[in-house]
C-alpha cells in the first residue's frame, strides 16, 4: 500500500512547479494488488483522466493519461522502482515481451572499317543486329547511318569507374542446362511454320561451313557495335542520367556478373529516348528504348530483356552475319549475293536465335533475385500488344511471334530448374 500526494506546496511527495497546479492538488493511492486510485483534493483547475475532469475518486486503468492543471503525470512510474520493471509487466495485463529470434533470411580498327562504306552492308548491319522484341510504332521504322561520336563514350566510361561494392560472392549461371527447341515447331502460330524453320536451319548450316575460314573476334563484334552506336547517336537522344538510367545499369551489372564463361565484351547499356517498343544489341552495346522500359511492369521484366540481349552477344549470334560482311568486304560483289540469300531466310534464323537467347537469358536471371516467370508474362503481353499494330509495313514484321517463345521458356525452366510458372 502506498499513498502519494501531489501539489505545488513543498510538503507534497511530488512537487510540481506549475501555476495551474493547486498547493495540494491530488492524492494517489496504490493498494497491495497494485490498483491505482486517485482523488482530486478540490483543486482549482482540476484533475483530468483522458481529458475528462474527475470530481471524486477514480481507479486508473492501463494507458490512462493523467493531467493535473497543465502538467501530465507519469503515474505508471509509481508502480515500480526504476530498477524493477518486471513487476510492471506482471501488473499490466498484456502478454510478456516477445523473445528475439533472428529472422530467416534473410577495338580493333583495321579489319572492318571499310565495310561501313558500303551502304548495302550498313543497312544489313542493322538487319542483323539482333532485335529482341519488335513491334513498334510505325513512324520509327527507318534508320539512317552516319558516323560520329564523342561525349557518349565518356558517360559510359564513368559508369565503369564505379566504386567497388562489397557483395557476397555472386552466384553464376548454371552450365549444365540443356536447350530444347522442339517447342518452336508448333502449329497455329504465325511465323513458326515448320517448313520455314527447317529451311532456315538447313541454309544456316550450309552458310556456316561456307564461312568457316573467316574468323570473327570479340573485337570485330565490338567494332560492329561501335558502328551501330554511331548510327544511333545520329538518330536518337540517349538518356544518361536519372534513376531509370541507373536502374538499367544496375540490372545490367547484376546480370553480367552471372556469366559463367564470359566471352569478354565490355557491356554498356544505352537508354534510348524514344517511345519505340524495342531493344537491341551489337558487340556488347545494348540499346534499351524508353518505350520498352515503360512497357515493363517491374525490374524482373527489364531483366528478362537485358539478359536476352546479353545472351545474343554471348551466344555469338552476330558472328555468322559478321562473317558474311567480312566476306563481302573481301570478295566484293559475291558477298552481296550471299546477303540476298540471307535476307530470304532471316526470319527463321531469328526465331531460333531469339529463343536460344531467351533460354540463355533465363539462365542468367535464375541466380539473381529477379523472377524468371515474369519473362513469360512479358512475352505474353508483348504478343497481345503486337496485334494492335499494322505489322505489314513494320520493319520488324519479319520477327516471329512470341507465343512459342513463352512456351520454350516455360519448358526450359521446368526441365532444368524444376520451376513451374503459371
Amino acid at each position: 500500500m502506498q499513498q502519494i500526494k501531489i501539489g505545488k506546496a513543498p510538503t507534497n511527495d511530488i512537487v510540481i512547479k506549475d501555476t495551474t497546479v493547486s498547493r495540494e492538488h491530488l492524492e494517489i493511492f496504490i493498494d497491495d494488488d497494485k490498483n491505482v486510485f486517485i482523488t482530486d483534493l478540490n483543486s482549482t483547475n482540476g484533475t483530468y483522466v483522458n481529458g475528462v475532469r474527475i470530481d471524486k475518486s477514480v481507479k486508473l486503468e492501463t494507458f490512462d493519461i493523467l493531467l493535473v492543471g497543465n502538467s501530465l503525470i507519469e503515474w505508471p512510474r509509481f508502480l515500480i522502482a526504476d530498477d524493477n520493471l518486471d513487476k510492471v509487466y506482471e501488473t499490466l495485463n498484456d502478454p510478456p515481451p516477445r523473445v528475439n529470434n533472428s529472422p530467416d533470411f534473410l577495338a580493333k580498327e583495321n579489319n572492318l572499317k571499310p565495310i561501313y562504306k558500303y551502304s548495302l552492308i550498313s543497312i544489313l548491319i542493322l538487319t542483323i543486329v539482333v532485335l529482341i522484341l519488335l513491334f513498334v510504332d510505325k513512324n520509327h521504322t527507318a534508320f539512317s547511318i552516319n558516323n560520329n561520336s564523342s561525349e557518349l563514350e565518356n558517360i559510359s566510361e564513368s559508369i565503369d569507374a564505379e566504386i567497388p561494392v562489397q557483395r557476397k560472392q555472386q552466384k553464376k549461371q548454371r552450365t549444365t542446362v540443356t536447350y530444347d527447341f522442339s517447342c518452336l515447331s508448333n502449329n497455329g502460330d504465325i511465323g513458326s511454320n515448320d517448313a520455314i524453320y527447317n529451311f532456315g536451319e538447313l541454309t544456316r548450316d550450309v552458310q556456316s561451313s561456307f564461312f568457316d575460314d573467316i574468323n570473327i573476334s570479340v573485337e570485330d563484334e565490338q567494332d560492329a557495335g561501335r558502328g551501330l552506336l554511331d548510327a544511333f547517336k545520329e538518330k536518337y537522344r540517349f538518356i544518361n542520367q536519372g534513376s531509370d538510367y541507373r536502374n538499367l545499369n544496375s540490372i545490367l551489372n547484376n546480370l553480367v556478373g552471372r556469366l559463367a564463361k564470359p566471352r569478354g565484351f565490355n557491356y554498356k547499356i544505352y537508354f534510348v529516348d524514344d517511345p519505340m517498343l524495342n531493344a537491341m544489341t551489337a558487340g556488347g552495346h545494348i540499346f534499351f528504348f524508353k518505350g520498352m522500359y515503360d512497357f515493363c511492369k517491374n525490374n524482373s521484366e527489364v531483366a528478362a530483356i537485358i539478359s536476352h540481349e546479353i545472351a545474343h552477344n554471348e551466344l555469338g549470334h552476330l558472328t555468322l552475319d559478321m562473317k558474311k560482311q567480312k566476306a563481302a568486304n573481301e570478295w566484293g560483289i559475291f558477298g552481296e549475293i550471299v546477303l540476298e540469300i540471307e535476307n530470304a531466310t532471316t526470319q527463321s534464323f531469328n526465331q531460333k536465335q531469339e529463343s536460344e537467347a531467351d533460354l540463355f537469358g533465363m539462365d542468367l536471371v535464375y541466380p539473381t533475385s529477379f523472377r524468371n516467370c515474369d519473362a513469360i508474362t512479358l512475352w505474353k503481353r508483348m504478343s497481345q500488344n503486337e496485334s494492335e499494330f499494322d505489322v505489314v509495313d513494320n520493319f520488324f514484321r519479319s520477327h516471329p511471334y512470341s507465343k512459342n517463345r513463352s512456351k520454350c521458356i516455360k519448358n526450359h525452366l521446368t526441365s532444368n530448374y524444376n520451376k513451374n510458372c503459371n
Partner: protein, 281 residues
C-alpha cells in the same frame, strides 16, 4: 474537421490527414501555446479496438519519453474519438525539407541532423517503460515524413504510432513505408530489435545525402522488396558525385542485411559519424 474538445482548445486550421486520422493546429487557451491535435475518430476504431489501443499506447510512449528531439505529449482526450495533443512544431517534415529546400544536404549538415535523430532514437531504445512488450522503445517507422525540422533548425522525431506493435500493425506498415524497412521487417514473423531502427537511420542518411528517395528507380513494390532483401543501397557517389564518400561505409554498415553486422547501437552509429572530421572553415 475539428472535434469538440471544450473551451480549452481553439481550432486554428487543419494541417494534415492520414489514413487513420486528422491533425489540426489549435491553441491551448490555458497556456497560450499552439498545439497539434492528432485525432482518431470513433468511426475509425469502432470495429477495430486494437487501433484505439495502439493510439493510447502511443500517448503513453510520448508521455514517458523525455528527450529534446522527441515531440512531447501535452494531453490525451477520449471524447468523440481519441485525440493526442502534442507540442506544435513550426516548420516542415524532413521529406519536404529535402524535396523543396535543400536537395542533397551537405554532408556536414546531414551528419548533424542524423546525429540528433539517432540520439533521440537511441534514448528511446534505452528507455524502460512499464508497458507489456516494451523493453526499450523501438520506433520502427523512421522516415523523412516522421522527422520535423523546425523553423529554428531543431530536429524532432514524431510518430511512435507503430513502434513495437502487433503483427497487424506491422502489416499495415509494410503497406506504408516500405522504402525504409530493414530486410527483417519484411518477414512478418520475425522479431525486431533496436538494430532494425539503425537500418532505417542508414537509409535516411542516404536520402539526405543524395536528395532522392531510396529505390526511386524501382518499378514496383516487388522490385523494392527484392532489392531490400538482396542488394546494397545505390552508391552515394553514383547519385551525387559531390558527396563526402566517407559516409558510404557508415551507411553500408548501418544497412547491412544481417543485423549482426550493423552498428550495435545508436551510440556506436553516432560515434562513427563523429569520427568523420571536417576542417574548420
Amino acid at each position: 474537421m475539428f472535434p469538440d474538445l471544450g473551451a480549452k482548445y481553439i481550432h486554428v486550421k487543419e494541417i494534415g490527414t492520414g489514413g487513420t486520422g486528422i491533425v489540426n493546429l489549435a491553441v491551448d487557451t490555458h497556456t497560450g501555446f499552439q498545439v497539434a491535435v492528432k485525432s482518431l475518430f470513433k468511426s475509425h476504431f469502432e470495429n477495430n479496438p486494437a487501433m484505439l489501443k495502439r493510439f493510447r499506447i502511443e500517448a503513453n510512449i510520448y508521455l514517458m519519453l523525455s528527450h529534446p528531439n522527441i515531440v512531447k505529449l501535452k494531453n490525451f482526450i477520449l471524447k468523440d474519438g481519441a485525440h493526442l495533443v502534442m507540442d506544435y512544431i513550426e516548420g516542415m517534415t524532413l521529406e519536404e525539407y529535402i524535396r523543396t529546400v535543400t536537395g542533397p544536404i551537405p554532408s556536414e549538415v546531414a551528419i548533424a541532423i542524423i546525429k540528433d535523430i539517432a540520439s533521440a532514437i537511441g534514448y528511446a531504445h534505452q528507455k524502460k517503460i512499464p508497458i507489456a512488450g516494451y523493453n526499450g522503445v523501438l520506433h520502427l517507422d523512421i522516415k523523412p515524413n516522421n522527422i520535423l525540422i523546425s523553423d529554428s533548425g531543431k530536429v524532432m522525431v514524431i510518430d511512435y504510432g507503430i513502434s513495437q506493435g502487433t503483427k497487424e500493425d506491422r502489416m499495415d506498415q509494410i503497406v506504408g513505408s516500405l522504402m525504409y524497412m530493414a530486410p527483417e521487417q519484411l518477414d512478418i514473423d520475425s522479431t525486431l530489435d533496436h538494430r532494425t531502427d539503425i537500418y532505417a537511420l542508414g537509409v535516411l542518411l542516404h536520402q539526405m545525402l543524395t536528395g532522392i528517395t531510396p529505390y526511386s528507380s524501382k518499378k514496383s513494390k516487388e522490385d523494392i522488396i527484392q532489392y531490400i532483401l538482396n542488394d546494397p543501397l545505390e552508391r552515394l557517389i553514383d547519385i551525387y558525385p559531390q558527396v563526402d564518400n566517407r559516409l558510404q561505409e557508415i551507411i553500408d554498415i548501418a544497412t547491412s542485411k544481417n543485423p549482426d553486422n550493423r552498428f550495435k547501437d545508436c551510440e556506436d552509429f553516432i560515434n562513427s559519424l563523429e569520427n568523420i572530421s571536417y576542417a574548420a572553415n
